[in-house]
């Protein structure tokens, strides 16, 4: 069942798409931060790290497209992420509340039928819901589905990033 769904995003094309988008975003980050090498402070470094990380997730979501709920959630978060990021610096509590409200809005946006999980693994499901982007609005069955695809894409992402890092570090 998974394979026919996977064929439009088979590892070869998904990896190449992700590579292209990610490299473009890395170069864009490099362009936007030309003086980072000289005046690198702790905060600047962290900022850049976060930007690279966000770029990695967003480029993977773009490579996947809007087929998947988690990719949609990632892109949505990225689009409205500036608000979150501005609040994150120094104001954790407020940002958390803001994130929660944004998350609620997002949940209402793509709210699916929330089924009361009678599974005994309900506690684990909550944890998993937090890990997988967009997982809060899913029932257990869809959550597992999204998790599987998310794991596949994460593996691809890690491989590509590692290869890039190796390429540039050598």
């Amino acid at each position: 069942m998974k394979n026919p769904q996977r064929s439009p995003t088979n590892p070869g094309s998904l990896r190449s798409r992700f590579t292209q988008v990610f490299l473009q975003s890395l170069l864009r980050i490099r362009k936007h931060n030309p003086t980072s090498s000289s005046s690198s402070s702790h905060g600047e470094f962290l900022k850049r790290c976060r930007r690279v990380k966000v770029a990695a997730y967003v480029s993977m979501a773009r490579a996947v497209g809007t087929r998947r709920a988690w990719s949609r959630a990632t892109l949505w978060r990225a689009r409205n992420g500036e608000r979150q990021r501005n609040l994150l610096y120094g104001r954790c509590s407020k940002s958390n509340s803001r994130e929660r409200s944004l998350g609620k809005r997002k949940r209402k946006k793509k709210k699916k039928k929330k089924r009361d999980n009678e599974e005994h693994s309900f506690g684990h499901a909550k944890k998993l819901q937090k890990l997988v982007p967009g997982g809060e609005a899913m029932d257990f069955c869809c959550l597992l589905d999204e998790t599987a695809h998310y794991i596949k894409c994460l593996i691809t992402q890690v491989k590509v990033m590692r290869s890039i890092a190796d390429f540039y570090s050598l």
């Binding site: 590579t19 684990h124 998993l128």
Partner: protein
Amino acid sequence: MNNSGGSGGDDMGFPDGGNSAANCPSSGMIANSISEEVPMMAMSSMSTLERPPISVDPFFTSGWDTLASLSHNENYGSSSLVSHGNFVGSSYPVLMDNQGFGRNGSTQLAQCLSDPRLQYIGSGSISEMVGGSFGLPELNHLANHGSLPNSASNINSSGCERNSEKGAQSCECQNSGEEPDGSSAGDRRRKRSPDPSSQYCSNKNNEGDNSDVLRLQNEKKQKIEQPESADFSKHNTKQSKDDSSNDGEAPKEDYIHMRARRGQATNSHSLAERVRREKISERMRMLQELVPGCNKITGKAVMLDEIINYVQSLQQQVEFLSMKLSTLIPGMSIDLEKALSKEAHSRGGGATNLALNPGMGLPHLYAQGVLKGTLPIMPSTDQYRPLSQASLDGELQALYNMGFDSISGRMKPEQRM
């Protein structure tokens, strides 16, 4: 046409017809007349389907057996006859109750036999015909109503009504996806599957018709023929586990419709629950393949723990790699990017097992592996990037200053991006 043999097809059937006639209290005297009429009936049903001049009472009482036996002679051995005989015996009171039509019943019987059975005779469903003939009282009702669009649906609805009303009767009706009353579909589902009182075909009913219940109308005729042929082969055999497994696969084809399997609860809620559980278990199996080292794990809770750990470790790897890349960004150039994209295409990713081998085994080692692997790499960049050494030093120090704890501490909020 003699009393003893009749036409060639009567040899097997006549003794049974006689036995059943003897069993029937009201038909002891009718045996002779039956033997005359049955051949005609058989011929009519088999060939021309004319209206047989049979009186209602003998036909409905003991003519059933002979008719059944005759029809079965064409297809089965004599083993089926006995069961049919038993069947008729059990259905006596019911049939007798519906004798209000008198002569009309026979003619309508012939009509019903002729019209709807034509298509089924072609497919060899004599059993269906016989089974349907048991439900003739309903058919008479239907013929009176006469508004059913599809003759198949006539039979189906007759079967449905019959099963829902009289569980003791034959369930050889063709259950197809079309039901005249959609609202009662759930009830039929519930009532039809546990058919305990019907003897030989109850087993078959649950399984043989498993694949048929609630199919779409387009598939109706195709699906009808399939279980018919299946019915032939396992007409009188007790339901084996093979059948349940074979027919258990059929409900999975159509994920919307589900039928209760043998020995399972038939509540509509439990059916939906079962479908859901199967979906979940199927997805858990897929996840088991994805997450390395989870082949031996049985149990959803442990499996979910592993999945969560794996996802967390993957996200941590992304974090570390993004940190690494952010230090390497100054070294990037557009030319390198093109070369790199080509390399990323060709490389299978197996050459990049510096830090972490996903096949390591336990997921909690992932993070440690990355930690060990990433940091040693950082000092090596100093040798190759003398220009950006100062920045790298600073960033290396930043990395070391952050330490493991702070990195892991920052994971959670940063993971939310």
